[in-house]
């Protein structure tokens, strides 16, 4: 748990509050920023290819990324690990880190272990267990729809696949005191004992590939920086448990359309859901906060400010085409595009993506078992 000293923002795995200073957050968590050298190294290894979310520094910080890069260069075993707390339909922001993870999996030929923490949503967030479990399956469809090969994606549903995790989890648990868990996650004596135990399961998956492959296989974990407390603990105890330390690569949060800090399932207007119809999407985008001028005339005269514009930030994370994003930025700054036009272009991009995504997602419905860890290990 990190409270900023000036109390302007707070980030925990369950809550993000305030306007986030990402440099300060990285410093507070003690993670490293991605340097030009890191980025160039990845580009070289990826055959002079670089994912737009790296180019644009949406993924911006890490722990020991170099360990994974070195192993990839040397052809040594490693794996990817990320996850989802399933409690509701996804918004498109959830897909962004997974799109990047899919790229890593393809380019560096790594298997992805994907943990659905239905137990966490029940224990920490009070979602009924049956509902969290149902959403584990629903959300899995969205992961599969991104185009994974069933040989490369291993979905773990905590309450159903606990047999893979429990032995590792109790070894983790033995290294973590009640005190450590309280201080790391902000639990108190009034917290339920399940929420306090849960971190051992999120940590366990970081060590699972080494167990399943029967050889040292450190993981790279692409995820939101709010998940760092789990993996900081995982790294603290890895050596004692004779597992390789997990590496991480962290992305920023995607801002809410309304200009708040993070999209939120409890405020539908802040995000575009996978299930939203075109009309909903249009309304939400047209109502989004921009960096534009109050009137058409002022916009044409002074131009807008893309750095304060949520719509522009959506271009950055959802539109791969560099030329288009760069043109939008220039046209905005020099006043040659109005917010309405700009929003319509984004709307069309997102609607096109979502139509295709929903089609792939439905096609995955019958094949979900092939992508589960339990069908392979």
């Amino acid at each position: 748990m990190v409270h900023n000293s000036s109390e302007t923002f707070m980030v925990t795995p369950w809550e993000v509050k305030g306007r986030i200073d990402y440099l300060k957050l990285a410093e507070q968590f003690g993670v490293k920023l991605l340097t030009e050298d890191d980025i160039e190294e990845i580009r070289r290894l990826a055959n002079n290819n670089l994912h737009y979310l790296l180019r644009r520094r949406h993924f911006y910080a890490h722990r020991d990324l170099n360990v994974i890069i070195d192993r990839i260069r040397m052809g040594l075993k490693c794996a990817l690990y990320t996850g989802r707390g399933p409690s509701a339909d996804l918004h498109i922001g959830h897909l962004v880190p997974w799109i990047f993870t899919k790229w890593l999996s393809d380019v560096f030929d790594m298997e992805l272990f994907f943990e659905m923490t239905d137990d966490e949503k029940f224990l920490v967030k009070g979602v009924p267990l049956e509902e969290a479990n149902k959403y584990a399956y629903e959300n899995a469809l969205d992961v599969i729809a991104l185009g994974f090969n069933p040989k490369k994606l291993h979905i773990i549903i905590d309450t159903e696949d606990i047999k893979y995790l429990y032995k590792i989890a109790i070894r983790v648990a033995k290294k973590l005191t009640i005190s450590t868990v309280k201080h790391t996650f902000g639990f108190t004596d009034s917290s339920n004992i399940g929420s306090a135990f849960f971190p051992t399961l999120q940590i366990a998956v970081a060590f699972l590939p080494t167990e399943l492959y029967g050889e040292e296989a450190p993981v790279l974990i692409p995820c939101g920086i709010d998940q760092d407390p789990y993996f900081r603990l995982a790294r603290d105890i890895a050596e004692e448990l004779r597992y390789p330390k997990p590496s991480t690569i962290y992305c920023k949060f995607i801002p809410a359309l309304t200009g708040e800090e993070k999209m939120s399932a409890s405020k539908p207007e802040t995000a575009i859901y996978i299930t939203d119809d075109d009309r909903d999407i249009k309304r939400k985008i047209m109502n989004a906060l921009t960096g534009g001028q109050p009137t058409k005339e002022l916009q044409k005269k002074f131009g807008g400010n893309p750095d304060k514009c949520i719509v522009y930030q959506y271009y950055v994370v959802f539109v791969e085409n560099d030329e288009l994003v760069s043109k939008i930025r220039n046209d905005c700054t020099n006043g040659s595009i109005l917010c309405g036009e700009c929003k319509l272009i984004l709307y069309e991009k997102i609607v096109k993506f979502l139509h295709e995504h929903r089609e792939k997602r439905e096609k995955a419905r019958d094949k979900i078992e092939e992508y589960r860890l339990s069908s392979k290990f």
Copy 2:
């Protein structure tokens, strides 16, 4: 955890200290003593038959035993549940409650769910996980050797059968705060988070038959009274989780041969192990603390005191034959038997039992899977 106010004894699931006042302990835990009426009711239901461990009040206290008795009378579903923390070879004292449990299972036609808590031994007691797991199998042989039918005995090994327990355990965990677990079991902020979570698994088995049978099936738990804290919590939360409250029937501890309070794996001379050879057994019994007089002459003149005699207490819990036990008591009191002779008779009884037990236990080695829950549910 119960500390006696006068500090003369302490009983927790992991430690028993001091000379135990069983009446006071029952009062402190808030459990009921078995009455003559209870005992008679059981005798009637058991076709005028009564197990010697009940006749002699080795099982002496309970919670809601009448609920189970009523259900048996009405032919309603219920089950038995007990267990073992596997970390070493057993001593014969461990078998005593299971012998009684076997009788209950036979006479009232109830299935027994038997939990091997290898996770607990690792988390709370620091036994290596592989060793605790190995002893889960070894100890299972001793349970099976008591003569169970594989259809009626369902052995659960926590680390291997966690899939049966985890969903129930997290529902239990959600009802227990860190504070409750700390106060009930004496954990502190320095305790590891696994030991604090473990009680949810011991509680989970109390609710498992209801899940597996798909109908209300309260359990009766025959065990040492030191296990009451688990089941007190289980009873506290059962209704909220829509499970029937477990009932319990508690036995006393079996004193150490050396006169200490409880047999102890860390002090070999205090107990007779299943694996002890005849010479070890003879030595241990011959060295046992008795209620006899210092010399043969004084013994013949004044007689011994069976109520202060460990050897006599062993007769009470290990020798089924009432006539023999009663004769030993009389002969001791009136000085017509010397301690040496009395010990030799006990030695022969125990050696005979153990020879047969070890034979049955080896025969069980190939059949252990048939007795596991996982082969049936």
